[in-house]
């Protein structure tokens, strides 16, 4: 299936309905504070097992796009980011809405979202195929070095604490170790529990870490929804062509920032919107308006966070390395459907790659239309009491963990990882490296062992092969850089304290 065929596939009513349903559900979930797109993806994943692989990826991509976009409504009308990435939109969307222009604020955000999405789709279509052609020639040593680089990169870029990022990544890798060792067929690390003979399934772990722990955290904040909010209206929701021209450069610049931040593993839409917002403020002729209802600010934040959606798909499709949580779940979906993520996907299943690309753009267009005409309905959803939603979401967590293997043990695993996710987040350890470690550990081990078997047990090819060496050098630099940065900052911090 070519890219054109993939668009034709999506034009079939039943397939289009899956896409529209996904976007609609994604926006609805994105609108509700606390229920995140990642959580929705984790919950829906087990049920995609009963769909064709093409429909499954179409559904997941459209849920992702809808979820990323829906946060705009709550951020603008309630000053609560419905999704973490909408945090910068709150700063200016809410003041503009409060000043009597909620429709205008939502319209600008929506316009930024569609432009960001379209530009990131262009980047995905242009950059992914040549990168995949390069990636397909990589051998086991290069692939192993690539995973090492991705883990170090994600730990050092995921902000705040490098050491905690690495700890979370290594912990995620250990969680992937129990079960039957694929190469030797030997059983390992079951700690005497036969239930662990098959290992820990990724799905209950991901549902526990991202869905269960989020609901428990939101329960603590349930009083937040009684806060003041602005009533939505449709006036100004469709912005003019002139507005697109006025904000055009800002949209393009913020989208490019979003695409590049999206490509970096684990950094994600929140950081992209912060960087785009800061850049727009630094370059603005009216920086004093930022934080008080600036149009430029809303456009920058929303363009950037939607632009990450295409960027994060690039490393997933070309290297098999997920750029963030949603991609980790998409990667899980590919594995469930017996598809090998990475460059070989282009050779063995080009239809799936093209379906992902076509769904990415179509979902953005559908999102734009739905957000433009349905904003009043979505605004009402944001006010729905969490007490009527959370219990049902928790039941879905239980069914989702159980459904794949019909094992009660998986439900307990989900509960345990709900507690672990809560604990990691409480200690402010980043969860992105944990997921990437969990997903990539089997690949890293398989590639290393395959390389060692072909080299007769020596690790020398890691430094003799230029691409593998290049990846390792980047990993070492990314390892040293945060330590050096912290060491440089320390005397200043100490001086400030004294």
């Amino acid at each position: 299936m070519s890219l054109f065929d993939a668009f034709l596939y999506l034009s079939v009513p039943s397939h289009f309905l899956i896409l529209v349903g996904g976007v609609l559900l994604g926006i609805a979930i994105g609108v509700m504070p606390g229920i995140t797109a990642g959580m929705l993806l984790a919950l829906v994943l087990p049920f995609t097992y009963y769909m064709t692989s093409t429909n499954a990826v179409v559904l997941l991509v459209s849920l992702f796009i809808g979820g990323v976009s829906g946060g705009l409504v709550t951020a603008t009308l309630m000053r609560i980011p419905g999704e973490p990435n909408a945090v910068m939109t709150c700063l200016d969307g809410y003041p503009m809405a409060k000043a009597g222009r909620p429709g205008r604020a939502l319209g600008l955000g929506n316009a930024g979202s569609i432009v960001g999405g379209a530009i990131s789709w262009g980047a995905l279509v242009l950059l992914a195929p040549p990168l995949a052609k390069i990636a397909v020639v990589l051998g086991p040593w290069e692939n192993f070095a690539l995973v090492v680089m991705a883990l170090v990169l994600i730990s050092s870029l995921s902000g705040g604490s490098f050491i905690k990022g690495l700890m979370a990544g290594l912990f995620g890798m250990l969680i992937a170790m129990p079960g039957v060792d694929e190469t030797s067929g030997m059983l390992r690390l079951n700690f005497g529990f036969h239930e662990l003979d098959g290992g820990l399934d990724q799905l209950p772990v991901i549902i526990g870490v991202f869905a269960l722990s989020q609901v428990i955290a939101d329960t603590m904040h349930i009083g937040q929804q009684n806060m003041e909010h602005v009533r939505a209206n449709m006036r100004g929701i469709m912005i003019s062509l002139r507005d697109y021209v006025t904000h055009g450069w800002n949209m393009v610049r913020s989208s490019v920032i979003g695409v590049w931040i999206g490509i970096l593993p684990g950094v994600g839409a929140t950081i992209a919107s912060i960087i785009a917002y800061t850049t727009a403020k630094n370059l603005s002729k009216t920086p004093e308006m930022f934080g008080k209802g600036s149009e430029e600010a809303i456009v920058a934040a929303e363009s950037a966070n939607n632009a990450t959606t295409g960027g994060t798909l690039i490393p997933l499709l070309t290297l098999g390395i997920p750029g963030g949580l949603a991609d980790s779940i998409l990667l899980g979906a590919l594995v469930i459907h017996n598809l090998q993520p990475g460059p070989l996907l282009y050779i063995n299943n080009p239809g799936i790659v093209n379906a992902i690309m076509a769904a990415h753009l179509t979902a953005h267009v559908v999102m734009f239309v739905l957000m433009s005409v349905g904003v009043l309905l979505f605004a009402r959803l944001a006010l729905l009491h969490r007490a009527w939603i959370f219990p049902t979401v928790l039941v879905f967590c239980v069914i989702g963990a159980y459904a794949l293997n019909n094992r009660g043990f998986d439900v307990w695993v989900m509960l345990a990882f709900g507690a672990i996710g809560f604990g990691l987040e409480y200690a402010k350890a980043p969860l992105a490296p944990f997921v990437i470690g969990l997903v990539l550990a089997p690949l890293a081990e398989k590639e290393l062992r395959s390389g060692l078997m072909s080299s007769g047990g020596t690790l020398m090819p890691l430094v003799q092969r230029p691409i593998a060496l290049g990846f390792l050098v980047v990993a070492v630099l990314m390892f040293i850089w945060p330590l050096w940065r912290d060491w440089r900052r320390r005397p200043k911090a100490d001086a400030a304290v004294s």
């Binding site: 049920f47 170790m177 603590m220 994600g268 007490a387 219990p391 239980v398 402010k428 969860l431």
Partner: protein, 168 residues
């Protein structure tokens, strides 16, 4: 006078200790595995390397915390609201979160360890949790009950009749 450790450093310390325990357990279990023929690495080396790296890193983390520094905090949170400072405009309800966790634990135990059926257990769970999270007025109690019956029966119908799935 002896200074108390900040909440952030205490959390860092517990995180590092937990990681040391996990890495030690994995290392010990992996070390008991026999090497595999024709495979230079075998099934035990990779987990042992990872456990060693995690253990060493965690020991470094403990030393940093005991020397009076925090490990820093992630600013790319994927889950909102855990460990945040108490907000000024509404009250946090940690007790409710504990109650929700306990109810969920009881629900899973009832489903997986007893013969309680999915439909009635789910209706009871949704009703109890919905009521606990609501404002607990008579109106909200009624809404919680209606939602429990509709959602419980709807989910059961959806998964058993349409998706044809086994439910716990």
């Amino acid at each position: 006078m002896k200074q108390r450790m900040s909440r952030e450093r205490r959390a860092d310390l517990w995180l590092a200790i937990a990681m040391i325990v996990v890495s030690a357990a994995v290392w010990w279990q992996a070390s008991k595995l026999a090497p595999a023929p024709f495979d230079p690495l075998g099934p035990k080396s990779f987990p042992m390397w990872i456990a060693t790296a995690l253990g060493l890193l965690s020991v470094v983390a403990v030393i940093i915390v005991l020397c009076g520094r925090a490990l820093g905090r992630s600013d790319t949170s994927l889950i909102l609201g855990i460990g945040d400072e108490a907000p000024s405009d509404y009250a946090l309800r940690p007790g409710l979160a504990v109650a929700a966790s306990a109810l969920t634990l009881a629900y899973v135990a009832a489903l997986t360890l007893t013969g309680a059926g999915f439909l009635w257990t789910t209706i009871a769970y949704i009703a109890a949790l919905g009521w606990a999270m609501s404002e607990r007025t008579r109106r909200h109690t009624l809404i919680a009950a209606i939602i429990a019956v509709v959602a419980g029966s709807g989910i059961t119908y959806l998964f058993t009749k349409i998706f044809v799935l086994d439910l716990p």
